[in-house]
């Protein structure tokens, strides 16, 4: 019983910290408005729709806290669950009641808390007190959390993890049943079916931009450019294992190459877009090699720090007064040319969307070919153990340079498309956050996996666009997502088969997924086998 109380209290306190934080940054207000809108509550001034939404939101958090508190104390009896949930609810209620009472009293006394925190306007404080008096509001918090905590505890006892297990079993059986039918088997293995998929995909890729408006084409175009960069960084980080935190530098090189060569306001040059395209890509790759020559002798953390510095140096250089006559300084470069085909200029976002899709397809093709080749295997070997990779005969220095140059070329392509689409580029387009975003999407998506990078770009760049209303909390969500991913799914959303195996050992009875297509038809003959009759010792491996 004591443990139940202790676990419950702990859960309540942890949750209260979180909720107080959400109130401090004003998230409770925003989410209440969203919920009210979502379930069609009346939100006109003076009505109670938002207050109901707030109670709903806080109540759900209370349920969660109670369930968590009860679960932690392994509720084998109802009384334990009741106590655990109640303890969590009461702890949460007390903290919230005191917190809101304090806010309300201060506000009533005429203290302007906005000096300290911008979210604490009178309206917001009244709102968090459920639009009632200070004491009533605090009591309502107490009551709400106590009840929801208790309910959460009881629900946790009622379900006791069994539903998760049964859901999992049901899903596994369904999956097996579907995947074992001959039709699915046929669709998965036949070559014709594969071509049909690719055909459908192409048609879809062609149709989608034409069906979307300017806004969505612009948004998806941004996502697409991040996919391009993600795929590039994926080669550097995901395959070759070189942690590059200054990846934006190559993006900037691409963007400024097209800027300086096509903007008439800068140097009077008006090169054709299609001519700049290869020049810019080569410039970025060349920069990659140039940076790589001194830097790639470093390993691990040192490499990360130096590349981080390099990324910033490029941004500060183009921003500086010294280079202002050459690169435009803080104002950046305007009037960057867009592409045109047969004299018809690309006029809107949709045309650029096609161009970006073409770019992505090209990059996927290159990545795919390279990762299943001699150099791709060398990269992965280097990521696994650089010393041994060199000892088996890989020129690690050259392999690293190549990875760096190819990754840089992709970023350069992204930069060219980005600058040309915006008809502008400036130093602030190339800040550290871009590097971090790209790295995050590679990690969240799944290092070393092409579909993973695409999924990661959609989650990290696409979702915030869709959820415009909470875009103020983008960074918060970003951090939370990274933490949650690292705990629940460290291999990424859509990992490569290799990384899935790396993080989750396959159970003994399950056959491992073939990493190589041809070894499946391996004959079981012994041949020259000198040691085939050795009984393989299975338990010694642990002692390594």
């Amino acid at each position: 019983m004591n443990t139940s109380i202790r676990k419950g209290l702990r859960s309540g306190l942890i949750f209260s910290t979180g909720i107080v934080f959400l109130v401090l940054i004003g998230f409770t207000t925003t989410i209440s408005e969203l919920i009210a809108e979502g379930i069609n509550l009346d939100t006109t001034a003076g009505s109670t729709g938002n207050v109901y939404a707030l109670s709903l939101f806080l109540g759900l958090l209370g349920l969660w806290a109670g369930a968590r508190g009860a679960e932690k104390s392994e509720p084998d009896t109802w009384s334990k669950a009741t106590v655990g949930g109640l303890a969590a609810g009461v702890a949460l209620g007390i903290v919230m009641a005191v917190f809101t009472w304090l806010l309300g009293t201060l506000s009533a006394a005429g203290v302007d808390l906005r000096k300290q925190l911008v979210q604490f306007s009178k309206a917001n404080i009244d709102f968090i007190l459920f639009q009632t008096s200070v004491v009533n509001g605090a009591l309502m918090h107490m009551a709400l959390f106590t009840l929801s905590g208790l309910a959460g505890g009881l629900i946790a006892r009622g379900l006791r993890g069994s539903w998760r297990e049964s859901l999992r079993v049901w899903w596994a059986s369904q999956r097996d049943r579907i995947s074992q039918t001959s039709a699915v088997e046929y669709l998965r293995t036949s070559t014709i079916a594969r071509y049909i998929y690719y055909g459908l995909l192409l048609v879809l890729l062609f149709l989608i931009p034409s069906r979307l408006g300017q806004y969505w084409n612009f948004t998806l175009g941004t996502v697409g450019i991040y996919v391009l960069m993600g795929l590039g960084l994926n080669i550097v980080v995901g395959l070759a294992g070189l942690l590059d935190l200054g990846y934006v530098a190559f993006f900037a090189v691409g963007a400024y190459t097209i800027g300086l060569l096509t903007s008439p306001t800068m140097h009077g040059l008006t090169w054709n877009f299609w001519l700049v395209l290869p020049v810019g890509i080569l410039m970025a790759a060349f920069t990659g090699i140039l940076l790589g020559i001194p830097v790639l002798r470093l390993r691990g953390d040192y490499l990360a720090i130096v590349t981080l510095g390099f990324g910033e140096i490029i941004r500060i250089l183009v921003k500086s007064d010294m280079l202002a006559p050459f690169a435009g300084g803080p104002q950046g470069v305007r009037d960057i040319a867009g592409p045109s085909i047969f004299g018809v200029p690309f006029s809107d976002e949709r045309d650029f969307m096609y161009l970006i899709i073409l770019g992505i397809l090209l990059v996927i093709f290159v990545t795919n070919r390279l990762q299943n080749s001699r150099i791709g295997r060398a990269w992965i070997a280097m990521r696994e153990d650089e010393t041994v990779a060199q000892a088996v005969g890989i020129n690690t220095y050259r392999a690293k340079l190549l990875a760096f140059a190819i990754g840089a070329a992709f970023a350069g392509l992204g930069g060219i498309l980005f600058a040309s689409r915006n008809q502008y580029t400036g130093p602030e387009d190339h800040n550290l956050l871009v590097s971090i975003n790209v790295l995050s999407l590679v990690i969240v998506g799944g290092m070393g996996s092409i579909p993973g990078v695409i999924a990661g770009a959609f989650v990290l760049k696409g979702l915030p666009e869709i959820l415009r209303q909470i875009s103020d909390y983008r960074i918060l969500a970003f951090g939370a997502l990274l933490v949650v991913m690292m705990i629940l799914r460290p291999e990424g959303i859509w990992p490569s088969s290799r990384r899935r195996l790396e993080f989750h050992d396959v159970p003994e009875e399950a056959p491992p997924e073939p990493v190589h297509p041809r070894s499946a038809d391996l004959p079981e003959t012994a041949g020259l086998d000198a040691t085939s009759d050795v009984p393989v010792s299975t338990d010694v491996a642990g002692e390594m």
Binding site: I375, A378, A391, V392, R498, H516, D529, M544
Partner: protein, 270 residues
């Protein structure tokens, strides 16, 4: 017989410690030679000097008669036909067994990244030949059917053999084995001995090994060199080494060794 490996006056110092001290060693083509010595005698350091991991302070290393190895990087040395395994197995843990062997074949493949990008016919031919060769090696070391397993999921003995397969993929003239039977039971050890002999007899590879298990060393070596505190104190056939006083002293200490040489009084009385 030709010298496949020759070191002259090879010296490696770490600060004040001389780990390898003026070692002269000659290994003839198609022999099985061993380097033995107590713990910390400098055996692995000696290997690391040959394979280019450490630059030696002094001396020379010749491969295949008169090719100087000094100053070459590890990948260049491997390219010339020297492969090695490690005391603590160092496979590419998250690559499949087959991929490990394919990586080992890297120096024998030529396709550049541009050829890989374009899938030229020579590149495809090379890939398919390498795959066949890797499958053959997998069979040769007795790991048929395990090609798709991640290296780290293989049992210990299989990992040892996979490491050798990876080394063989380089088609080496000289194979350096660092304690190939460490952690193996009696039966596995005897299989490994037979396997090493096979390598020499069937593939004509010269083998230099470090080993602690004396039954292995005496059983398969044609030449044994003994290191102690970095100095080569003896060299010869197994029979010569077994009777060498200096070697016994190095292993057991001076007092114990002199005790062994004297006839025990009790036995004499009986």
């Amino acid at each position: 017989m030709r010298n496949i490996l020759e070191t002259r006056n090879l010296t490696k110092r770490f600060g004040g410690l001389t780990a390898v001290d003026s070692v002269d060693l000659v290994v003839h083509e198609q022999t099985i030679a061993s380097v033995i010595g107590p713990n910390g005698a400098g055996k692995t350091t000696f290997f690391n000097c040959i394979t280019g991991f450490y630059p030696p302070e002094d001396g020379q290393i010749f491969f295949n008669g008169n090719e100087a190895l000094l100053g070459l990087s590890p990948d260049q040395i491997t390219q010339r036909g020297i492969s090695r395994t490690y005391q603590n197995i160092r496979l590419f843990a998250n690559m499949s067994a087959l991929e490990n062997i394919l990586v080992g074949r890297h120096p024998r493949m030529k396709a550049s990244w541009i050829e890989s990008l374009l899938h030229t016919s020579s590149m495809r031919k090379e890939e398919s030949e390498s795959l066949d060769e890797a499958l053959r090696l997998l069979r040769f070391v007795g790991l048929s059917g395990l090609g798709d397993q991640l290296a780290r999921n293989l049992p210990y003995g299989a990992q040892r053999r996979l490491e050798i397969a990876r080394a063989l993929a380089n088609e080496p003239k000289l194979l350096l084995l660092d304690e190939p039977t460490a952690g193996m039971n009696l039966q596995e050890t005897s299989e490994m001995m037979r396997f090493i002999r096979n390598l020499r007899d069937e593939l004509g590879i010269t083998i230099l090994l470090i080993e602690h298990d004396m039954s292995v060393v005496m059983g398969i070596s044609e030449q044994i060199s003994v290191l102690d505190y970095g100095i080569k104190i003896a060299e010869g056939t197994p029979a010569e080494i077994q009777g060498n006083t200096k070697v016994i002293e190095a292993y057991l200490g001076r007092g114990a060794a002199s005790g062994l040489n004297r006839t025990p009084p009790a036995t004499a009385a009986a």
